[in-house]
Symmetry: C2
């Protein structure tokens, strides 16, 4: 199976229905080690006021440390992670590492360093947030490009 097919299968197994209008994006964050570092995502809606995505992590896959800085009048993206399936280790600067399981959620303040990694079974996370401007994300690893 391709990476895209694996992510699509995880969503289907969780009962999350996609249509032909949904785009399942696969990102290795430019590092070329997708199975270890990267994520798959579906952006349901991203407008001036709010954003909603589904994030899919393969087993032990890491979304590495980054923050969402202010952009113009926007104080930076604020985001709420709600775990749907699997187990997620979430690090948030000032809060340390926490383990989130299905039904657990956490809201990350703007411009705050965070990273997250899935457990053995991979994970699906619903992300609710203010407007998403991925191109402005600041990753701690300078090799990462979005």
């Amino acid at each position: 199976m391709t990476h895209r097919e694996r992510a699509a299968q995880m969503l289907a197994d969780a009962g999350i229905v996609l249509t032909e209008r949904d785009e399942l994006e696969i990102s290795d964050l430019g590092l070329g080690r997708f199975e270890e570092v990267g994520l798959s995502l579906v952006v349901y809606e991203n407008n001036e006021r709010y954003c909603a995505k589904e994030l899919v992590l393969l087993s032990h896959q890491l979304c590495p440390e980054h923050r969402h800085p202010p952009v113009g009048a926007d104080p930076g993206k604020q985001e709420t992670f709600r775990v749907r399936t699997g187990e997620v280790t979430l690090f948030v600067d000032g809060h340390g590492e926490m383990t989130l399981r299905p039904g657990d959620q956490f809201t990350i303040a703007p411009d705050t360093l965070h990273w997250f990694r899935a457990g053995d079974e991979g994970a699906i996370i619903s992300e609710f947030s203010s407007r998403s401007r991925d191109e402005h994300d600041v990753f701690s690893d300078p090799r990462i490009v979005r």
Copy 2:
């Protein structure tokens, strides 16, 4: 089963996990005919910038016509409905009636009249929106109180 138990069962059947921290709210909108008019909902997050909820409708249950008016500097709630299970008839002023099935979504502009009703099997709808201020909603039926 109570109304709450029925809504909780529908969420569980859809693989949507709630925890003890989640509150499943049952609303008959003050009309006392919950099975016909009303809805159940879980508010995952509602802050100054965005809001996310899960809405549950029983078979043929109606959320009656209303709009989200401007409140101070807020131009009114903008909301995106994404159907997770079941079939939903959604009416939006200026767009008429449409049928939404799992994976279908529609974004409703602020201050725009709309109503929605579930089909035979009931429905679960994920709602992504700007801040929710339910107490300001304007329902076309003056008997309705939130």
